[in-house]
Structure formats: structure tokens, C-alpha cells
Amino acid sequence: MTGELFFKVVMGTIGMAIFAILLGLSFKGIDRKIAAHMQSRVGPPLRQPFWDVGKLLIKDSVVPKNAVSWLFNFAPVICLASSITLLLYIPIAGYGPLLQGHGDLILILYLLTIPALSMVAGGFASGSPYATVGAQREMVTMMSYEFPLAVAAISIAWKMSDAFKGDVFTLSFISSHPIWNNVGLLGIIGLLFLLLAVVIILPAELSKIPFDVAEAETEIAGGLLVEYSGRNLALFYLADGVKTFALSSLVVAIFFPYNISQFFALGSIPAFIIDFLFFLLKVSLVMLFAVTLVRVGVARLRITQVVSTYWIAVTLMALLGLVLLMWDSQILTIRWW
């Protein structure tokens, strides 16, 4: 049994890595194209990220003299690997995740921190003052968005445990029991608050404007990535694409786990294709609203503004969602008569 599981995990991971990199880069292309159209530009072709990665791979990879070279070279690999690992726990297109039964929402909360932490490690290992400033800013950003993110995840898991018996903390359970169907009006308002909080957290997780203080090109010359070039930069570039795809599909799995194949009388293969295309559509819509529109529409915040946004506004939003979800259960269970 263990040999079979081992084989499944290894092959699945390789397959998922190729799939995730291809989709991540394609989504990056779509993101850049839409952003360009919003600024009334033509924009790069959709294959642009593939050309960028190809070019970075043939460039020289410079390791600065005062860098900690093993950590400097190790951090991009960990960043990409942990982003792909994240996808192994997220249900894709209504199908259970590859490592189903081996981890839950709490594990994902922890896994989410690893790409950011490896970027921090790489930044500190660069030995450049810009990268150090970037790494410190990234840590501060992480500290500010982790709490509202945890509140959102826990409220949903708590609501699921209130409504169902079973493995309520696993993502496959959450995505097979759409949460919107199990709450009343107050709960729906609460869930909207939670969704908004998570959508505001996404750009910070992905280091995108307005929360890209850690990579701010115009202030600290690329921040964390300032000393990275060639192959290492390509790995971070790939990790960014994979992370965007993984986080968008996480939001889809929690908040929009609906499929459309049951509305058509179809065989299993056409149904899978339709569900998969619908899943890609949902992921790109989440990416459009959480990343593209936001990053074109607003300017970069300062680091103090990032902290106060998350600790005050977004945390309050998430707590309000939690309270509304709680009231929803209690008002439904109170005997008014």
C-alpha cells in the first residue's frame, strides 16, 4: 500500500508541477493582458511569461560576493516547491486533492507562510540593504495579514462543524458541501464579509499592488528580489505564477465550489472537461477581481498603511463575519415561541 501511495504521490506531484507551472504562467499572461487593456494599451501577448522564463533561464545567475550562497540558491527552490505542495492539498475542478485525507485547512494556513518565508530567507541571504529592507517589510506584512486570514478560515470551519458531522476541517469536505447553502440571511452577509477579507488578503499573499511594499520596484529596487538574476529569478517568477493559481483556487474551493456538469446529461469525460473549464473560469474571475483590477486601480500603500489596513479594517471585517455566522446559528436555534 505504501509503495502504491508513494508512486501516486511522486507521479502526481510531477504532473501537478507541470500543470501548475503551465497554468500559473498562462494566468500571469492573462493578468498582464487585462491590465494592459485597462490602461488602454495593447499589452504583451498571452505567451509573454513563457518567453520571460525562457530568457531568464539562459541568463547568467549571479551570486553576490557577500551573500550566503547556499541559502541564496536554496530559497527560490523552496519557494517554488512549497507553492506546488500547496496545490497538492487544494481540490481542483471539484475533484479531491491529491493528498486527500493527509491534511486540512490548518495545514494549508501553515503552508501558505512557507513561500513568503523562503522569500524572506532569500532576501536576508542576499546581503543587500535593499533586500534586507524588503525582507523585513515582507515579515511585517505577513504578521499583519495572518490574523484576519486565520479568523476567516476558522469561522468557515466552525460553521461547517456546526452544521455537519465528519471531517469538517478538510478542504475536500468544505468544497463538497457549499457553505452558502447552509446559512441563513445573517450568515450570507457574514460570509460576504469573510470573502471580502480574503480577497483583500490575496494581493498581500502574492506581493501585488497595493500591498507589494516588500518588492516595491520604484522605492527599493525590487526589494527581496533585488540581487536575484537568471535561473533563481526564473524560479521566483514561476513560484509567483503557481502561487497566484493556488491561492485563487483555494478561494474557489472554499467559497465557490459549485460545478455545472450536473445540469447537462453528459458522460464522465465531457462532464470532467466542462467542470474543468468552469473551474478555470472561476479561478480567473477570482484572480481578475482580487489581483488584476486592484493592482491597476490603486497605488502602492506605505508599510504603515498596510499594517493598519490589515490589523484594523480587515481584522474587523473578518471578526464581523465570524460574529454574524455565530448569530446565524444561534438565531436559527432559539425557540422564539
Binding site: R32, G43, P45, G222
Partner: protein, 144 residues
């Protein structure tokens, strides 16, 4: 494959070595919706480590000489210098000034340079210079 990647994706780091800001504004104009160089995969980056091309504006003043050399050395190979404006070619209107370290070929004698003359050059000319720059990158990348 090598040449194709550079042709489709060229990242530029902009260095102002004492320019009057005229050429810099023309470089910015090339990024605006009217000329939109991003459709060719050309992008301004914030760090010389990410760059393939160094866009150099202005005559090199003695203050900037050391910095220009260091920025050039920080760029990973293969790399090209795109000299925007007449100043980098001959000194331009500043050619007799006491504080010039000289035109680009004196400060960076080993660098492959693509010159875009003009005071300032039009954005079309700058884009044309970038097109010529990636031909040099082809030969530089293919040779190794």
C-alpha cells in the same frame, strides 16, 4: 531558441548619468499607451540584476563614472548598453564641460553599445534601438 527568447522578452534598467531629463521623458513616452513597448515584451525593471539592457541617458559626468561602471558590472551576461541621446555619443551640448568623464565608449570600453542619436531621440527611434540591441544579445548569447 536563445535568440527568440531575447527577441520576445527584453528587460531594461534605466540609468541617468547626468542627463537633462529630455531623453528620460522620451523613454517614459515609449512606455505610455501610445507606443506601449510592453507589447514587445520590453519592460523597465528596478534592479540591474534583472536587466538585459542598460538604457543610459546623458553624458557621463565624473560623479557618475564609477556608478555607471558598477551598474554595468552588476548586470548578468549577456548584456548590452543602449545609449539614448547624443550626449552619450559625443557629450552633446555638454561636450566641452569640465566635469565630463567622457562619452560612453571611454567609460565602458568593453561594452557592446547601441547608439540612438537625437536630442532627444523620438520614442520610435528608441524602440528601433532596442530592436537592434536584441540582435547583439543574440550573438552574445549564442556565442557562449
Amino acid at each position: 531558441m536563445i535568440s527568440k527568447s531575447f527577441k520576445k522578452s527584453l528587460w531594461i534598467f534605466h540609468v541617468n548619468s547626468g542627463s537633462c531629463n529630455g531623453c528620460d521623458i522620451e523613454i517614459v513616452a515609449a512606455l505610455t499607451p501610445r507606443y506601449d513597448v510592453e507589447r514587445f515584451g520590453i519592460k523597465l525593471v528596478g534592479s540591474p540584476r534583472h536587466a538585459d539592457v542598460m538604457a543610459l541617458t546623458g553624458p557621463i559626468t565624473s560623479d557618475m563614472e564609477d556608478k555607471v561602471k558598477r551598474v554595468y558590472e552588476q548586470m548578468p551576461d549577456p548584456k548590452v548598453v543602449l545609449v539614448v541621446g547624443s550626449c552619450g555619443i559625443s557629450g552633446g551640448v555638454f561636450h566641452e564641460s569640465y566635469h565630463l568623464a567622457g562619452p560612453v565608449n571611454k567609460v565602458l570600453p568593453d561594452a557592446t553599445c547601441v547608439y540612438v542619436p537625437g536630442c532627444p531621440p523620438r520614442p520610435e527611434a528608441i524602440i528601433d534601438g532596442v530592436v537592434k540591441a536584441w540582435k547583439f544579445l543574440e550573438s552574445a548569447g549564442g556565442g557562449e
